[in-house]
């Protein structure tokens, strides 16, 4: 049974039934005690009244009424032990074992017996217990019967009460049913019971976050498609140029440009994936202890070729071992994009210096170049996706710093851009706190 209203109904009606039965049983037990006392007293009185009667030739008057009504049997024995009187009852009971009140079993039925010894005579008044029980049962029945009569009405009332109480919940459920990922309207919060309000509030805040994430995602996909179209158009045009080329030189040149276009599209795809992995919405990756010295060393080896081709001095200084607990791929993407950017914008003969160090609170990574730098008023915007600075021809795909920023955020760190030296170059300082962000 998985409906709240059905459960409530079953529980309430069950409890009510049990209560009624308990009331019946307790009434029955109480009534039995009282009926017993009353009837016992009656037996006693009857025996005492017979004691004063000398002759039993006639039927004892005192007993006559009771006899019929309550199956009371009277027996009298004389001092010689002869049964001198038996009331109308045709089943003479055996003489009780001792004087006083007792319960005996006679002909498979329980009897209440009172034996009175008086001047050699023994007077025994007996009565079966059955009528007493019947009487108690009737009392109990009188108590619970009204309850069972109003039972259907009560069930109906409970049914409606439950339905009415659960109505806000049903309304919320209806509201949620109408929602779709495309339209996550907040659910109305007014007039809600205190038990449901927190649920609806939580849902609404979740919907809000979700639709914002959807929007970001949608815009990102649109931007990505927009950005991919440019290199793809170039590739398409270069294929045409290749087709129409008449000399080998032209063909070689066209092929080179074609391959550049493909590289650019491929790099953009790679960067888009890298960004998707470090986005706040991306699923968390198991954290590892990462040595920044080693990571920087590896990346510098990878990029040494590009630096050498461009005539740029690329080096690192890290005297102390520095490590952080983080996501290895995100950290790699972060440092690799920083160095890639620095190499991209630094002119031949320039320098790109990577430093790794430690302060009390954080691991620090610093990349300084001798490129054109970033003017202060653009230092916020360069982190935007697909933002490219004006007037620079060595454009990347505009995602590098967005990836760096997301990766830094993922590790709870900070990033700061400044001039490298006297209005020259760019210095990027990243701090990743110890202990790690989520420890």
């Amino acid at each position: 049974m998985n409906s709240i209203s059905q459960r409530l109904l079953a529980l309430l009606l069950g409890a009510l039934t049990v209560a009624a039965l308990l009331a019946g049983i307790s009434t029955y037990l109480k009534a039995r005690v009282e009926v017993n006392e009353l009837f016992d007293y009656q037996l006693l009185q009857m025996a005492l009244s017979l004691r004063d009667q000398n002759s039993f030739e006639q039927r004892p008057t005192a007993a006559s009424d009771y006899e019929k009504e309550d199956d009371v049997t009277i027996q009298v024995w004389d001092s010689a032990g002869t049964l001198i009187y038996v009331s109308l009852h045709d089943t003479p009971l055996p003489l009780a074992s001792h004087a006083g009140l007792q319960t005996v079993i006679f002909q498979k039925a329980e009897w209440r017996v009172f034996l009175l010894a008086d001047r050699g005579r023994r007077i025994q008044v007996s009565q079966p217990l059955k009528p007493r029980r019947e009487m108690s049962f009737v009392f109990a029945l009188h108590t619970i019967l009204p309850l069972f009569i109003i039972f259907p009405a009560l069930a109906l009332t409970i049914w409606f009460a439950v339905r009415y109480t659960l109505k806000p919940l049903t309304k919320v459920a209806d509201g949620v049913t109408r929602l779709s990922p495309a339209s996550l309207e907040p659910l109305p919060e007014h007039n809600l019971p205190a038990e449901i309000l927190p649920l609806v509030q939580r849902l609404n805040s979740l919907f809000d976050q979700l639709s914002r994430a959807f929007d970001i995602q949608k815009r990102f996909v649109a931007d990505a498609a927009h950005e991919l179209r440019t290199p793809l158009t170039a590739v398409k045009l270069q294929m045409r140029i290749l087709e129409r080329s008449v000399s080998d030189n032209e063909r070689i040149e066209a092929l080179e440009r074609l391959s550049l276009g493909v590289d650019r599209a491929a790099r953009l795809a790679g960067q888009l994936l890298a960004l998707a992995r470090v986005e706040p919405e991306a699923p968390p990756v198991p954290l590892e202890e990462v040595s920044l010295n080693r990571l920087v060393g590896e990346i510098i080896v990878e990029q040494a070729r590009i630096a050498a081709d461009k005539g740029i001095k690329l080096g690192t200084s890290s005297d102390v071992p520095v490590s952080v607990t983080g996501e290895p791929d995100a950290l790699r993407a972060m440092i690799s994009n920083l160095i890639d950017n620095a190499l991209r914008y630094t002119l031949p003969g320039g320098t790109v210096a990577v430093a790794v160090r430690q302060n009390e609170l954080a691991a620090v990574i610093e990349v300084a170049d001798t490129g054109p730098g970033i003017p202060p008023d653009e230092r916020e915007r360069v982190f935007d996706r697909f933002y490219r600075m004006q007037g620079l021809d060595c454009a990347g795909c505009g995602l590098g710093l967005a990836i760096v920023k997301s990766a830094v955020k993922r590790h709870g760190g900070t990033i700061m851009l400044s001039e490298a030296a006297e209005g020259l170059g760019l210095r990027v300082v990243i701090e990743i706190p110890h202990p790690p962000f989520n420890a």
Partner: protein, 220 residues
């Protein structure tokens, strides 16, 4: 035919320029809004190819200004914005056509030709003059039903002369229409081309108007 290409992406701009040059167009390439405005103020281009997402001045703003100042040249918007609303905004701002990246190079040149045809008030795609028939789409030229092989420049030159057959076109005008910014023109280049054309098409079709320039003539 001289076109202005306004495109900020170096790779794409370079490719478009090369494709169009292969199609016998002279192409000037402006990389941002300011450069584009400067170019538009200095030369009456045959057609403008305009990217919308430009640094500095936005493509649509350039278009607005252009039309406000009653510049009549055909404008084709080349952009990655493919939403219907973007197209409508572009066309309503005064563009004559709208191409979404990635576009087919043949489609681009076909649309340029269509716009030039309309500008010149022609209906049929072939240009005919006397014994000559020019096909701008294939760069083929026939003289008395016989196909003549022309270089791209020669084809461009005869196309320019055939735009208004009765009019005289000066050497400077021809240079301007045939060569873009970075193309070097020697002082006698046009004369050489004219000489070659006369050799291939017969001496009487292109007449020299002394001290003024050249004109097409049907008189033998």
């Amino acid at each position: 035919m001289r076109l202005l290409l306004v495109e900020d992406d170096p790779m794409l701009g370079d490719s478009v320029q090369r494709v169009l040059q292969q199609e016998a167009f002279a192409v000037d390439w402006a990389r941002d809004g300011e450069e584009a405005e400067l170019a538009l103020n200095t030369f009456p281009y045959d057609c403008v190819l305009l990217d919308l997402g430009l640094p500095g001045k936005n493509g649509l703003d350039i278009l607005h200004d252009l039309r406000k100042r009653k510049f009549p040249m055909p404008v084709i918007i080349l952009t990655a914005c493919d939403a219907v609303s973007d197209r409508i905004a572009g066309l309503d701002s005064g563009a004559d056509d709208y191409l979404v990246k990635p576009f087919d190079p043949d489609e681009l040149t076909a649309r340029i030709r269509a716009l030039l045809r309309r500008r010149d008030g022609r209906v049929e795609p072939l240009i005919t003059f006397g014994p000559l028939t020019l096909n701008p789409a294939t760069h083929e030229i026939y003289c008395h039903e016989r196909q003549i092989r022309l270089s791209l420049r020669e084809f461009s030159l005869i196309s320019v002369l055939l735009e208004r057959p009765g009019a005289t076109v000066s050497r400077e005008q021809l240079e301007e229409r045939l060569y873009g910014w970075n193309e070097e023109v020697e002082s006698n280049t046009i004369e050489v081309h004219i000489h070659n054309l006369r050799k291939k098409l017969g001496h009487n079709l292109i007449r020299t108007v002394r001290g003024v320039g050249y004109m097409m003539s049907e008189q033998p």
